[in-house]
């Protein structure tokens, strides 16, 4: 069993962080394929207001447990070498990255399916909330589709 890993990070996920995470896999020479999903905050126009940021909050202890369950279920289902999940808390501006999901495997087929199921499970099952903050300071609460 993999040890529990912390998913939540404060603020946006930087391209540098992603780069370092990729680089750490160069010693794992059994890996042939990596698949990365990144969620980026959109500057959507909603009711005439433009989103400038999303402020993420979560039921953190429950969310970390569910991330752990999702991780274990995915390792059980697919032949993966590695899996990493990071999600932002706090403010993430439009254009910045709020979700980083990274799977690696010997052959590419496992990666395609695993990343898809992981991202869908994260969106559906993890108690994370997003306050979409408009340029004018008003806000609404995001709902996943």
């Amino acid at each position: 069993m993999k040890k529990p890993k912390k998913v939540f990070v404060e603020g946006p996920i930087s391209p540098d962080f992603i780069s370092r995470s990729i680089a750490q896999h160069s010693t794992k020479t059994g890996i042939g394929a990596h698949q990365i999903f990144l969620g980026q905050v959109r500057a959507d126009i909603l009711d005439g207001h433009q989103v400038k940021a999303i402020e993420y909050s979560a039921y953190e202890t429950m969310a970390e447990n569910i991330f752990h369950d999702i991780r274990e279920a995915t390792f059980a289902q697919f032949d993966l070498s590695c899996m990493h999940i990071y999600h932002s808390l706090g403010e993430v501006k439009a254009g910045e990255i709020c979700l980083f999901v990274f799977v690696s495997s010997k052959h590419r087929e496992a990666c395609y399916k695993a990343i898809h199921e992981l991202v869908e499970a994260i969106k559906a099952k993890v108690p994370i909330f997003g306050k979409e903050i408009f340029e004018d300071g008003a806000h609404i609460w995001k709902v996943n589709t």
Partner: protein
């Protein structure tokens, strides 16, 4: 019995505090309590987690339970 109620996101905005300690006997009673405190709570969408497990149906509460009301998830 006494339970802790946790409110998140838009539900937390409806009340002065996002954490309530209340004396109740059922989940239904929690909801009525919140509806009476703020009628805007009526009609809100949420799922319920008891001690961090989502529950689909009314289940018996125990003293010390942590009841979380969770608006629609928006991760990612």
């Amino acid at each position: 019995m006494k339970v802790t109620v946790l409110l998140f996101a838009q539900l937390a905005e409806l009340f002065p505090s996002s954490t309530l300690e209340i004396e109740v006997t059922s989940l239904q009673e929690i909801i009525e309590n919140l509806e009476s405190k703020n009628p805007d709570f009526i009609g809100q969408q949420y799922s319920v987690a008891i001690n961090e497990e989502i529950v689909q149906n009314e289940i018996a509460l125990k003293d010390g339970d942590i009841v979380a009301l969770l608006p629609p998830f928006a991760g990612g």
